[in-house]
Symmetry: D2
Subunit: 346 residues, 4 copies
């Protein structure tokens, strides 16, 4: 099917382009990117040397989709921008996968509270199917409009939701302490993300009010304090989640409790090819260039905390890979079409 990628000059856009190129059922026919319109995709992304599509202006998206007969559009746009294009695309009957945050929160009041402005298209919120395949496979089947979750939220949700739903941990308080590679900040000429600023540097940011907190809370039902950190690396997210053990866990001995936590994760992801429970704490390097996420947990009976740790590649399972995975499920294709299970090691 004919596919277009919007936001192709960004990093998630680059991954979408690469995946579409190798996807057996997708034919990439157009790429859009405002700041680089008119240049070739490989000028922005030298790793894509040889893909000679010229980037078009995003404002030409709708007419281009129509004239090219495009059937599926991936939107990897800055926050708030996809709201402008989704209605027109849906009106054309085109399938849309939005990688932005615009349609993730169904409650417009919560949206306004955390994003600081009113939603422009609240009537469309309910039609967007949330693209976290592992928890939403059935609803995604046949979906025509998918809102794919982002990197931090995916990592936190994978680690928290199974334990909370199984009654092993309390919903409050939950602390999500996460570290991300700098590609999560997007491709931008900003001194904060220059090599000399990032190298040999580790810092916390977005303290207390990071916008994605609300999505973690909606997904899991927990009350979350989320603290993201910037790590000196290109890719990868590790979320270390702290949850209070319930009596159910605290009454067990430590080995029993650990086994229960482990089996809770194993069961939750039993049917998943892209999320796996591990027996030791995962590292981000295991996920580099792969669409897989790994989850591990254990109880500290001395202090009553349960640790849930998840790792993923923020540009794949945390962005472009997740979007294609959800599209595959929606289209009834093999879930891993175009996607790598094994990344680049070392």
């Amino acid at each position: 099917m004919k596919v277009a990628v919007c936001g192709a000059s960004g990093f998630a856009g680059a991954e979408l382009v690469r995946i579409c190129e190798v996807h057996p059922d997708f034919e990439l026919v157009a790429v859009f990117a405002d700041r680089s319109a008119g240049t070739s995709i490989s000028e922005s992304h030298p790793g894509l040397f040889g893909i000679d599509l010229a980037m078009l202006a995003t404002e030409d998206l709708i007419p281009t989709v129509e004239s090219f007969g495009i059937e599926l559009v991936f939107l990897a746009l800055p926050h708030g921008v996809s709201q402008r294009y989704v209605p027109g695309l849906l009106a054309l009957g085109v399938m849309v996968v939005d990688l932005g945050a615009d349609f993730r929160i169904k409650n417009p009041v919560l949206y306004e509270q955390w994003y600081g402005h009113q939603h422009e298209r609240p009537e469309l919120l309910s039609s967007a199917v949330y693209g976290l395949v592992e928890f939403n496979r059935e609803e995604l089947s046949g979906a025509r409009f998918i809102s794919a979750p982002g990197c931090y939220v995916t990592a936190a949700t994978l680690a928290i939701k199974p334990l909370l739903e199984a009654g092993l941990v309390d919903s409050n308080p939950v602390v999500v302490d996460a570290a991300s590679g700098v590609s999560g900040a997007g491709r931008s000429a900003d001194l904060r993300y220059s090599y000399t600023s990032v190298q040999e540097n580790f810092s916390a940011y977005g303290l207390r009010n990071h916008r994605h907190t609300v999505e973690m809370e909606v997904n899991t039902g927990a009350t979350v304090l989320f603290t993201p950190h910037l790590a000196p690396m290109t890719r990868g997210i590790l979320a270390t989640c702290y949850m209070r053990a319930t009596d159910l866990l605290m009454q067990m001995d430590r080995n029993e409790a650990d086994a229960l936590v482990a089996s809770c994760y194993s069961d939750a992801f039993a049917g998943s090819i892209f999320v796996e429970a591990t027996k030791i704490a995962p590292s981000t390097r295991m996920t580099y260039g792969s669409n897989r996420a790994f989850v591990y947990g254990c109880l500290d009976s001395r202090t009553g905390w349960v640790l849930g740790i998840s790792a993923l590649d923020n540009l794949l399972k945390g962005a472009a890979g997740q979007a294609v995975q959800a599209a595959n499920v929606a289209l009834g294709l093999p879930e891993d079409s175009g996607l790598n299970r094994f990344g680049v090691w070392p």
Copy 2:
């Protein structure tokens, strides 16, 4: 005064050697290192090219100290080893600064519980003055035997102790989530610390039972869950500490509460040249090559958590710099003799 460094083939040892070379009152006359005995210090540490001291075997420490007339010995030895040498050095009347963990915990029962074996010299525990200058300046004055705290514990203590003592946070639960550069693991030919293993990798380790947890608890009175992480960098520790706000803070509005947290840190470190309260969250890069630590805090009134964040260079304020700073105070020298306030930027 004549000084010796034991454990000179390690990273803290290298920093001790460098500092002693530029310290106006120290004359470095001997270096000891078992695995590299017989080779020059600069073979282990090319950055010290030009310091041509040959490393001696540690077992020759006592007779060498005696024959050379050494007056001050820094011990940067693997855990458990300094217990063997301290009694002999003290018997000679030599001043000792131990960078290891052997004499940090005064209670031998706690020591055994967390370190897994009995202390060999419990009778000396009480004579070791704890070398965290910012909280122990008076006791250090004139001290002849100093036990200097390590990197994680220093970072956590600086962030937790002032708030807890001021009644702004509860002592339980406290979560310390910290990330360290790989030099914290020491200089060792271990695949886990090879470039290809560390690069582009972020992971948690030492879950639940890291030995330094007990020292954080003793220093602050808090009940701590400590989760260290390995970050892809050489130096630096960032500790993000999560503490529950007391009613005192929760009754204030957010700005008042933040101001109170800030002034609590400012007051605690008012007389300190090496610990400073910042107005925004610090980053490890600010401390690279410097003996300074930075601390910042704020309240999330929505969830009731207080965040305390500290940054330091694990080999300086977290090891060698701290040891020299404590020795300076003990000897009545200027506190910053031999030490950099400004590190290497960028």
Copy 3:
């Protein structure tokens, strides 16, 4: 077809395993690795988590190949070791692709001169087909024993051979100045390759007598001074080759000369999907995780030097990818079976 990988605990071995897993015509049935025999492949390579093959001892290679019915064996062994196994494998009629240097130099006198010891199986040298597909496609067709070139030699040969054969440069003197990521040194617990040794470090090594010099000279007919450097990165080789322009080039104006150099490369690699001539100097990042190499050249008419610059991923086009590419050609399979044209960006 049933495939085995020897040397699976190394980095080239890891890439071979990954490629075999996704190769549509290969079924990986056994992996061998002396130092890790008995453990799972994913214990050595966490990025291969989920491939649960246990590594076997290399000494069991021949009987295992026989009992499992293995038809193709990749050998990624330390220098000199494959000589021991090749005769037995060939005797069984098994196809062999050797990634080591043992069978690359056909002249046993040269071999001894540069490698410092006699070749043990000189009678087999002539039967090994050299696996640089771009220059040897026809000879590789149907080959049953392939000796694949390594990373530095591939990079240098791609940049030098076309210009020299076209008479644009002299064969003497030629300088090859190259930089490699540390994965080129293999997976070893060696302080020289620890993170703290490699990070923020750039150095030359193997001055004057690097063994691969001779292979560059044999491949191209040039007299080469080769200086490798270690760069603070995991993957990638950039070879900057300096060659003296012949009169043919010097008589042209600069633009003409540059165009001739460019078309010389374009023509040489016109039929190649994995080597491409670029219009600007390539960078290693363009090749990360890909089997592609890029080549660029230009003339400095002022000094009479021609610059030829090539970039590739040392573990793929410089090792495992090249080996599979050669095997594909030998077997009559699509040349890119199992191989990525686009790597990981960013």
Copy 4:
């Protein structure tokens, strides 16, 4: 004496500020930086936290110098800008150390040829003393206007000039192949120097016509092809220089020749505290945070090339450290005032 730094928002500027802060004879009273005028120095350089000087606009330089009674000004300005300020400063009788390229080339014709525009102040060229202390110590004594050489030129000159002057190598051809950390490109919000662009990337740039080539040629008398490379690191330059051995060397056996090369370097830098000849090839890490440079050489008798390799920290011996070292010599101060011999290791 009262000192000012112009260009304080850049990296060399940051190092100048740091060095001035610890220099026993300098009192830093003003800092200038156009793009950050009005902000504190530590907003641009968090590592300088605590130095609360506000940056002034460069256009106010002359009046500020006058009203503050500033006696020494360091200029770390973009190419071409110092020409505007030097005449005014000299007219005031102020001592000037220029870190830019404006006054390095004494011949205005050569200047125009390589820099592409006419020099605005050719009459001042001869009054600028070239600040490479190791070759110009006497001329620098008492100098009031110093033009300090940059990083690549210093590295290349240290490696080439001694051998050429001793008649061990020919002046033509000489190839300088060098790699630099990204701080050499300055502090700029440019996608090319973002973390994701630099990390895991090695590339050549400035092919054939890099402006600093001419300075290498003027300093040494050689005809140079210079190829700089960008390495994934913050600091450090390694220059690998290829020179043709003269008959003098070629007639010797290899060990004799190597010994002669080594003693040539040792002799050249016998009186220098900041340049040292090494017995093995140096690495950039040895110089990190230090004002030292290291030089090593050897002959490849097989091909007739002499290798000369030098390493330095581009921001110190290649910029700010060199400038202060030259000022120290000019002022009759100890040559190492304010400067580190030992950098940060690891």
